[in-house]
Amino acid sequence: MTRPNGRGPLVLGIETSCDETGVGLVRDGVLLADALASSVDEHARYGGVVPEIAARAHLEAMVPTIERALAEASARPADIDAVAVTAGPGLAGALLVGVAAAKAYALALGVPLYGVHHLAAHVAVDTLEHGPLPSPSVALLVSGGHSSLLLVEDLATRPVVSLGATVDDAAGEAYDKVARLLGMPFPGGPPIDRAARAGSPTIPFPRGKAGDGSYDFSFSGLKTAVARWIEARRLAGEPVPVADVAASFQEAVVDVLTAKAVAAATAHGVDTLVIGGGVAANSRLRELAAQRCERAGITLRVPRPGLCTDNGAMVAALGSLAVAAGVPPSPLGLPASSTLPLS
């Protein structure tokens, strides 16, 4: 689809799978707007995302966030050529708000609708910063909601293949739980990352599923080990060395994540690793991944932190790839699926 004026189609991307209402506008692989409304503060006192609170916040923020994105791009609704939306996986009630809004825009404007997979969109966002992704690549996605290793070929036309995923908690979830044990606020990633810089990773916390030959992760045992360790200290009447606990916990998480990601890339003869998801903003994860990729001769691609967390730009990016590849659009009856499979 080429516009008469020679410019490619303007794609609106909508993301509402968790607690961020994200709206992006992409044209020709260029990000024109990335508007975000977050309900994270409303969830803080509950120590995790409350689905109904998230869904209510999406409803209130949806149209204003779309209008903010359009204003940012100096575009009118009528300029939109296609609408992409996260169809899953995610929180059912939250997804439904974005999917309904996307359909309404597509119907009102008479433009095609593209339901996309949340994880594929996390990978696609990197193309906005670093250009087309070599095929195949390996992607490591880590956030409060997911921990996945993926084998990625052409994002628009080929199904993303899951190499491994967490068997219990997501990495970001483990961060949130350990932060609570240490008396830190939700979400736990940033405060643990900060505290860890002042500590040393000297406590030998377990590396779940490390060296088991699979590309799966497990963080529940690690979380329990941290809890036991802190409790033993307190029972003994000794102070808890918060910085060292944070550093040791973080090292255990990051060690397993990067080791398995590099092993997967090597095993599949892939020379590019993409890291995405909220935990990709973690400084130690970036550092260790960079070291290990360099040693293994793998190119590491990490989008800037603002694009790693959930946002609309990633959905617009994947939608844009789908439009360019001539992928058939989704029907208006597209369901939102909390457990959407990758294929």
């Binding site: 509950y46 409803l59 809004a101 359909k103 309404a104």
Partner: protein, 251 residues
């Protein structure tokens, strides 16, 4: 004007013409309407239903003059589908979107003193009381027996709505609600009068009728008054518990 409601198991869309003769601001002529009753699939059904209603009437989205949406109360997930769809559809076209209490989509088409009840799940009902189509009490949410008491106290003598068949015992003392009173012959009488849908239903609608919602919003729409915020009528707080302090992990 496109009107929709998703506050009950029914997913309802109506295309109405508000261009009634002068002095009849609350008249909605139904051009096309469609309804599917399936509580769990509003998200999948609504947009195709809107597309089909528009196509069936040969009306393009760009020809519309406004959108009206039921704000609830209703089960949260499906309710949000309707509100965000109406708001987004209107925003995409640069149209106003007016919200109306969904119970008015039934109560607005009744005469006499009537209570309207819809299923709020968790063994409760959403309800409101009407006098000749105008809401006098509610909306609120209560247990069925309590709703019966509150409706009596509000002066209602009849009850209608999908909640009635769920808890008939709670409303044994009430009559069956009558449909809208016939329109007065004298148009002037209607000037400050109630909403009216043409063709008029003989009995109150089984589910909130978007055409009735459109008729109620018509005076504001035709006068070009800015719509109020599209705030969902939840009537319940979200289920959320603050976490307990970390539990001991060692036995």
């Amino acid at each position: 004007m496109l009107a929709l409601d998703t506050s009950t198991p029914a997913c309802s869309v109506a295309l109405v013409d508000l261009s009634a003769p002068a002095g009849q601001p609350g008249v909605a002529r139904v051009l096309r309407a469609s309804q599917v009753v399936d509580a769990r699939r509003h998200g999948e059904l609504l947009s195709p239903l809107m597309r089909d209603v528009l196509a069936g009437a040969g009306v393009k989205a760009a020809d519309l003059g406004g959108v009206v949406v039921g704000l609830g109360p209703g089960p949260f997930t499906s309710l949000r589908v309707g509100i965000v769809t109406g708001a987004a559809f209107a925003a995409a076209l640069g149209l106003p979107c007016h919200g109306v209490c969904s119970l008015d989509g039934i109560g607005g088409a009744t005469s006499g003193r009537v209570g309207v009840v819809t299923d709020a799940r968790r063994r409760e009902l959403f309800w409101a009381a009407y006098t000749d189509g105008r809401r006098t009490t509610g909306p609120a949410v209560d247990a069925p027996a309590r709703v019966g008491e509150l409706l009596s106290a509000a002066g209602a003598t009849a009850v209608t709505g999908p909640g009635l068949t769920l808890y008939p015992d709670a409303f044994a003392g009430f009559a069956t609600a009558a449909g809208p009173a016939p329109a007065p012959a004298d148009a002037a009488e209607q000037a400050g009068g109630r909403a009216r849908v043409v063709p008029a239903p003989a009995a109150p609608p089984a589910y909130p009728d978007p055409a009735v919602l459109a008729a109620l919003a018509a005076p504001d729409l035709l006068a070009g008054r800015a719509p109020g915020p599209l705030t969902a009528i939840y009537l319940r707080r979200p289920d959320a518990a603050e976490p307990h302090p970390p539990k001991a992990v060692t036995a």
